[in-house]
Symmetry: none
DNA sequence: CATGAATGAGATTTCATTCAT
DNA sequence: AATGAATGAAATCTCATTCAT
């Protein structure tokens, strides 16, 4: 089982039962969309790469856009996953007694996720500006939910005196920005530079802790 | 003279003399490219928006891609501009005795630039991943030059004991990331949210100062 | 079954199975190319004449030039056919004991061929000077092979004392030139003049025999 | 003065006074037309090669076709020249007492002409099939006149008992065909093969003499 | 005379989508 | 379900020609 396969399995398999061809179509589409962008990818190219007939794509997805959405929607769901924990506070109290632990856990978790789902994330990032539906979905289902949770988390640690007293949304913006900045630079802009991941992640955490944390 | 006009004037006029139609083509192309992306914009659409025959576009730009490059290249040049100062140290010594002043000046300068050249920056950001030539140009002409300058600036302030002692490239990555993060969130992702720019910028500077600066 | 149909059947059908539309495209292309030349024929014109959507042409031939090559290549093959006989000498010994018989047979055979494939030959002759690929193909696959065979044939009859003793390549040049000259004048330059084919062919054979043969 | 220049001078200069630019246009057009064909040559290409503005071409020639005609017409005139001699019989009686001398003189003269005007002849040969006006002109002004003259010449030598007794038009067809065949093979189809011109011409003359002449 | 920007008709080519098999 | 030929609208690009300067 290839890396790609596992990705597909993880993201797509559990929802519906996908035929073999359908999986191949999705894999091919992810590959092309992430590399050339949605608009610059032709369905015939996807068909060829997937080893299916052109018509087969349209048997499963009414339009090309449907195919994009069929890829992006589950990606968003997964992106959201770690933030959708029911008893968040309990988790925080028991697992991450202080902010730094939480930050570290979150960053590491998301870095792993990013590494595994790089093409999918690229598609997400690159296509959102051009498709209002995506933008809306992203805003409605991701941003809001993550934001709400994260506001609570921030307040939680602010109450504990571990985060400086600025509006939670600023904390969130600066945190996410810093993490996304690392991921984009690392995996999208300069994937070929030689990175010492451990060092960079540590530096990033230290930077965030100094910028946002209170240490006595 | 419209806002757009002044942008064009600034960015494109001084290099070559552009005909009236050529200016209109550039304005229309910027508009469409930034809104729908390069691949999803048709030349006929640009021609119509510019009030020009489609053939006219191809008289000035041999291909559609040439048009993109003709827009992006000068943008890169301008993006680079503030970092290309000859006597950098003198400027630093006299104008920005401490890091915070420099940071503040730079951020404000780039925020103004971003506000004015938003569509151009959108095009730049959105198209770089899809066009290796752009990526190369960007890397060669922008990143390297800015990086070199900025390494020196960082070392300058590190010697003065105003920046913590970590590798300059980490300082740079974290700084640029934080600033870009602000700009992208502010102007590209959520331009319609209600932002209190002054507060956010101040928060960003404070965050950077805490994260990177040494204050005694 | 029309005349055209049989031509296509003969030349194109046996290689691959062509769809009905593809045949129509080929017939239309041959018609237009031979009449107006490749460069002056538009694909839309071919599509219209073939009763096919323009896109259909490009489904079968990636470019307009491919269409030309798809027509010309099999023509070359057929042109070559009569010269590709395995046991050439046996044929000569049994069927054509003397040079005149051979000459007569060859001329008649090629005249029939020319009459039947006139448009294709026109295309071949007219386009070869403009397309290096064609020229190369023609040289490599036709000229060389025909030439080699023909040198042997010439030597065969020279040994029998039926052809004058000059270099074989001169014999060949003069023979082909004379035959081609007749065909081009007859069918391409002045197809509408009133020709007495039998007389002309007989005169041509007599001319060649006097010019090249030895009769005791 | 270049070779090209002399060609132009000879063919075009004496008729009208041509400006410097006009000459350049003609030279460029001859070059491109002969190499790529009329239909595949763009006026802008000619303008560029000639070093003039696109508009300049149309100042001198109303249409692209006019340019072609402006090149081809004088070529035809020159092609005809040697046959337009008033007192043909006197010339024949005094200069060329026998057919072989005449043949030799004519071939040599036309070979020289062909060598010097190769591109022009290529254009003539290649474009005639596609332009009815050219065909008509060629037929009316060249073929007929040459034919008429040549019928008389043939009859002249037939009366003298030097040419076999077949219809003059057959003599003409076979003669021209043989000469053209040599020229086309020599200069158009295989200009790069190594030719021994003297030998080939001599062989051609001998061939014609054997095929058509009477030697006692 | 000369220029070259501008045009718009048309050429080649691409592509999402349909449909008969 | 799958195929792939066919479509026609639209995309990119070319080009002969015009015209203001």
């Amino acid at each position: 089982m290839t890396e790609q396969d596992s990705l597909i399995t993880q993201l797509f398999d559990n929802e519906d039962e996908l035929t073999d061809k359908q999986k191949k179509i999705i894999i091919a589409a992810i590959d092309s969309f992430s590399e050339k962008g949605y608009a610059a990818t032709s369905t015939s190219e996807i068909a060829k790469k997937a080893g299916v007939a052109e018509g087969t794509i349209f048997r499963h997805y009414k339009t090309k856009k449907d195919l994009l959405l069929g890829i992006v929607a589950p990606t968003m769901a997964k992106l959201l996953a770690p933030f959708v924990i029911k008893d968040l506070y309990k988790v925080l109290d028991t697992k991450y007694e202080n902010f730094e632990d939480f930050l570290r856990a979150m960053i590491e978790n998301r870095v792993v996720f990013a590494k595994k789902n790089l093409p999918l994330l690229k598609i997400l990032i690159q296509e959102i500006p051009f498709h209002p539906e995506l933008k809306d979905q992203f805003f409605e289902h991701i941003i809001k939910k993550v934001f709400d949770r994260y506001v609570k988390v921030t307040e939680h640690y602010q109450e504990k005196g571990q985060i400086i007293d600025i509006p939670p949304q600023q904390v969130i913006r600066l945190t996410l920005t810093t993490i996304m900045g690392y991921l984009i630079g690392r995996y999208i802009l300069f994937p070929n530079a030689d990175w010492n991941d451990e060092d960079e992640i540590e530096a990033t955490i230290q930077f965030l802790m100094r910028g946002l944390g209170i240490t006595d």
